[in-house]
Amino acid sequence: MALTHLQVCQAITAARGDAIVVCTMTAMNVLDGLGAASPLTLSSVPLMGGALSLGLGLALARPERTVIVLDGDSSLLMELGGLANVAGQQPRGLHHFVFANRVQFNGNHALPLADGGRTDFAGLARAAGYASAQTWSRADEVAPERIAEHLRRPGPSFVQLDVEPSPSRIGPTQPAPETTDARFSRMGDEIRAMRRALGASA
């Protein structure tokens, strides 16, 4: 049985410690639901595909920190070249997790991905040049202590998380909501909060 987004996000929240987290799409929404706000969390929104490169910049600027990127499969497909960028820089603190739910607009109205659900993302990361790449699909693999142990190893690491798609909410009886102003100001607010938390001045 595949993992759930909630199960993984709960475990990562328990294991992250003082790590920086860059998230997007479903992982962002699930973290919001957990009430796990932190000045060291940055959401790539509305910017699908941006999480990995934001995380790369953070990992290079702050090599003493652990940086966790919580990416989506459709987001990664938009910016696959980001795998090569990480391989080129080899940031030891970067740990890249990809929620492979195999749909776009997960939880809203699931649509098929460009790859037809066939891509071996861990295989891509391994071939690109990550230090390690694995696929996790069992509950014991995402236990908080297992994730904490994983984060202590040198990166850049990649984990493909085989997760079930969430039930779709939007359809004929439940139209899509208006996009709020807060969705557009959120990323900047979080960047400024992170800079304050990190004592950034440049």
Partner: protein, 178 residues
Amino acid sequence: MDRPDRAYSVGATPILQAWRAAGIRWVVTVPDFVQLSLHAALARPDSGLRTITTANENQAIETAAGLHAGGERAVVMMQNQGLYNCLNAIRALGLDAQVPLYLSIGQFGREFANLGDDPRRSRRRMVSLLEPVMDAIGMPYFRIESSADLPNVARAADAAFSRNGPSAMLIGHYTAWE
């Protein structure tokens, strides 16, 4: 061989000096043919700047924003066609999120007959559309058309880092190997 177009080239060394003076420590780039001598100067061990090459311009903008979030200053080098490629990343990070994004953009493909003239009157859309596109998104830019324009390097940096938004210096012709 002395070529008349050299009058429109600006040396890599003074640009690097201006970047260092502006507190820039990182270069994020999809390499630009117009700025080849600048890339070569950056590759020298004593350049004082670290270069990150990315696969496309969205990733370059996002990586620079990540560096900013971590407390570092970067310049993003790309071509004019690269700017067209990364408008959404600039919208998201430079405009909506108000992250300082300092770009150095080469006017690739510019015909020599247009040197010394207004790049908006270039016969090549890749050149002539650049400034109108930046006007459309409210992004300030500063031309580097000869050595007399070197103060624009610092002005463009200040426009990004003081305003907390995107700005660009536009390299009008091949940078000089000096």
